[in-house]
Assembly symmetry: C2
Homo-oligomer: 153 residues x 2
C-alpha cells in the first residue's frame, strides 16, 4: 500500500529511517533493562535531571527535553516515583518540578558506563566520524523544525 502523498522514494526513506529508529531503541533498551532494570524512558529522565541546576526541572521543561507530551511525562514520573528514583514537588505558581533522588542518581551512575558502550557499539561505531556528524546535523535540522512547529495535538 503506497501512502498517498508520498513518492516511492520518500516512502522508502521514511520507512527505513523509522524502522532503524525502532530497532535501535529496542536494542538499546534490551541492554539497559538487562544490566540495570532501567528503561530508555527512565534513563532519559534521570540523565536530564542529573544535569539540571540543583538536579531539578519543571515537568513542562523535562517533557520538552525528552521530546514527549506532558501527560506521558507525568505518567512516567509517577512510575519512577514509586520506585524511589524521583520525587515531584509543587513550586508555588511555577507548577510542578521533578527532582532526582540519591537512589535515582546512583541508578544512573551504575547504568551509564555499559549504556555508553552500547550506544557506541550499536550507533556511533557503525558510521564514520564524518557520517556521524552528517546524521546528527540532519537530525538537528529536523529537531529544530519540529520544535518550531506548534503541535497539532
Amino acid at each position: 500500500m503506497v501512502l498517498k502523498g508520498l513518492t516511492e522514494r520518500e516512502l522508502r526513506a521514511w520507512r527505513t529511517s523509522f524502522e532503524m529508529l525502532e530497532l535501535l531503541r529496542t536494542r538499546i533498551e534490551q541492554q539497559l533493562q538487562a544490566s540495570s532494570g532501567l528503561s530508555n524512558a527512565d534513563y532519559t529522565v534521570l540523565a536530564l535531571l542529573s544535569e539540571a541546576p540543583d538536579r531539578r526541572m519543571r515537568v513542562f521543561e523535562l517533557a520538552r527535553g525528552a521530546g514527549w507530551e506532558k501527560s506521558r511525562m507525568h505518567h512516567q514520573l509517577t512510575r519512577m516515583g514509586k520506585r524511589g528514583l524521583v520525587i515531584r514537588e509543587r513550586c508555588g505558581s511555577r507548577g510542578m518540578e521533578a527532582v532526582i533522588t540519591a537512589d535515582g542518581l546512583a541508578a544512573l551512575r551504575k547504568a551509564a558506563p555499559s549504556h555508553a558502550q552500547e550506544v557506541r557499539r550499536l550507533f556511533v561505531d557503525r558510521l564514520t566520524p564524518e557520517e556521524l556528524d552528517q546524521f546528527a546535523g540532519l537530525s538537528a535540522t529536523i529537531l529544530d523544525s519540529l520544535r518550531a512547529d506548534s503541535s497539532p495535538g
Copy 2:
C-alpha cells in the same frame, strides 16, 4: 554527566538523534491518534500485514519487520485482536501467524492519507531531496548492521 566511553561530540550526536526520534514519534502519533485512534504501533502492524502475501505474516517475521522483540509483538497483537483489527492463527509447525481483518484494512485505508501528509510535513519536507537520501542511506547502514548483530537480549 558525560557518558564514559563517548566523546562530547559523539554524545551530542547521539542525544540530538535520539531526541529528534522521540519528538518525531510523538508528533506522528498525536496526529494518528487524533484522526484515526491508531497508535504508531497499530499503524506499523497494519501496514506490514496489508502488504504481505495473503495479508498474513508469521509473528516472528512481523516482529522483525517492525524492529521489535517478539514478546512486544505478541502483546501488541493481543490488544489489536481485542479491537478486531487482526487475528492470530496457529500454522502447523510454523508457529503463529497474524492476519489483518477487513476492519483492520479499513482502518488502515482511512488513516493512510492524513498520516502520509503528516510524514511529509514533519519529516520529508524538512530536508532537501538530497538530504533525505543521505539520511535514509545512513539509516540503512545502521539498520543493516543492527540486523546483522546478534541481539544481546
